[in-house]
Symmetry: C2
Subunit: 340 residues, 2 copies
Amino acid sequence: MPSVIALDAMGSDKAPKPEIEGALQAARHHGTRVLLVGPQDRLKAELARYPGARRLPVEIVHASEVITMEDKVEAIRGKRDSSIRVGLRLVREGRAAGFVTAGNTGAAMATAKVVLGALPGVDRPALAAAFPTVLNTAAVLLDVGANVDCTPQNLEQFAVMGDIYCRSIFGVKKPRVGLLSIGEEESKGNDLTREAFQLLKQLPIQFIGNVEGRDLYNGHVDVIVADGFVGNVALKTSEGVAKLVRTVLKETLKSTITRQVGAYLSRNAFSDFKKRLDHTEYGGAPLLGVRGVCIITHGSSNTNAIKNAIRVAAEFAEGRVNETIERELAGLRPLAGATP
Amino acid sequence: MPSVIALDAMGSDKAPKPEIEGALQAARHHGTRVLLVGPQDRLKAELARYPGARRLPVEIVHASEVITMEDKVEAIRGKRDSSIRVGLRLVREGRAAGFVTAGNTGAAMATAKVVLGALPGVDRPALAAAFPTVLNTAAVLLDVGANVDCTPQNLEQFAVMGDIYCRSIFGVKKPRVGLLSIGEEESKGNDLTREAFQLLKQLPIQFIGNVEGRDLYNGHVDVIVADGFVGNVALKTSEGVAKLVRTVLKETLKSTITRQVGAYLSRNAFSDFKKRLDHTEYGGAPLLGVRGVCIITHGSSNTNAIKNAIRVAAEFAEGRVNETIERELAGLRPLAGATP
């Protein structure tokens, strides 16, 4: 039986269009049943524009409120009927196998922790981001922002969860797991990473030691473990560099006619280039370690990004990733500080 | 009187060629006197290949040992006559106004701290890296690796030193100083940044609050303050993204004949592009807060990078940056934990 995925219809910058189209594509191409969560009347009207929609397994679940990107913690807490909260409740109640949102990341993480709770053995859920490498493989970085001050034990759990996610979703048999630090030697790093190093090397995973910022994209490591502050800085710095490169390249290619002709002849290269570095192919960032499936995608998500996030949510549920996380964490030595 | 700058002749990956040529260019174009530090016989033979060299103010100072990029702490300590140590001694003894090296960064920082010591009021010297932004301005990030576990007071001192460096070397009248964090609000960040935020907002600088990884390159901030671990991760992640982009772009542009023709026509755009993102223009990373001038450049430095680093070292000395740091730190409220 195909999975049922709840989708926040009001999350992305251009909501609900990418959400509705992404839901329809996921239903059409992967047979996924999608519950579109948001204001019923508006969604009904929007959905009516797509002639084939009625024959596809896409339904609307009403949620009267919407959390904006600017909403502060208090506002988020006050919106009891937000599309994020209603969608996550569908997962908790077993009516959906997973939830996808392109909305406010902080709100989605906080609400998921409250509504779904953590898996047994997990102290802190972690947000995992996937991106392309030079070798055309995927690499996973976690945590990218769920936890700012971490203990070595938190990083240990991130390593286990990242390893399982990489195996389950990207099909890497024995992921190479690295600890993000500032030098390769065991002695390099800060207090946190040096202690975490000792824990990670005892885990039944392929721990390859410390890796550096430049290793994120060179394909030499599959899973990179960091505390949420460092992971978030690395991720957003990458976005900054990518934007710098795009802007400068565009400016220099436009500055003379010859260059413009050259750029025109090479245009397929630029679209291939864009495709190869396209993060929308990776289906968003799962919040690993919560009881249920919760995938958070970028606010700028397009139809393709939403479709892929729905696919990943379904694969995540069908692959029983959470059961594996629970089992493997229980199999480790009793974890210091873990809630049993 | 022109400054005398001591240059580690054996630091870069292709040493001593870029060093010798960089020294000759600095002497020719800026009138700087350069002391080339390294094995006398070898440098003498190399220098003899450049016909005009004898008329330029470039001299050799003998150092029998060389620290390699692979040398561990013990090896570094053991090499008492290394080109790095001898060069720094020239600064301490007042025979040179500054020192430049493209060698082992860790060794250079550690040796500078020992040989030169810290300026009054500075607890921890910090390495400052400069890079280009979308708006074609320079931004300064510090610390990028001198200190892994920092206190809020350390970050406060980094802010003051970064501000002065940006004013003195890049001529920015009132630099916008930001604290690298993971959200703009004052409440966002980890324990360290939240405490540092409170200190930075009391400083007589233009503190613009928290900035994120993506702000490093958007030109909205001139000086970005971070602990050495986070700063190093941000810097090396940037290198990783830049390499990813270069590799993928090259591959996609070469894959068909049409694209190759297009790339050929646009070739000047690519060289402009390279130039605009060229870090060698910025003259390396100064170790701010030591008693003396110490500039560390990338191991891959070419002639231009060395020439610019020598220029920056001279400007640093002539601009009396260290005197300003000392004076402005003394002018602050008595700093908690600062060595008087």
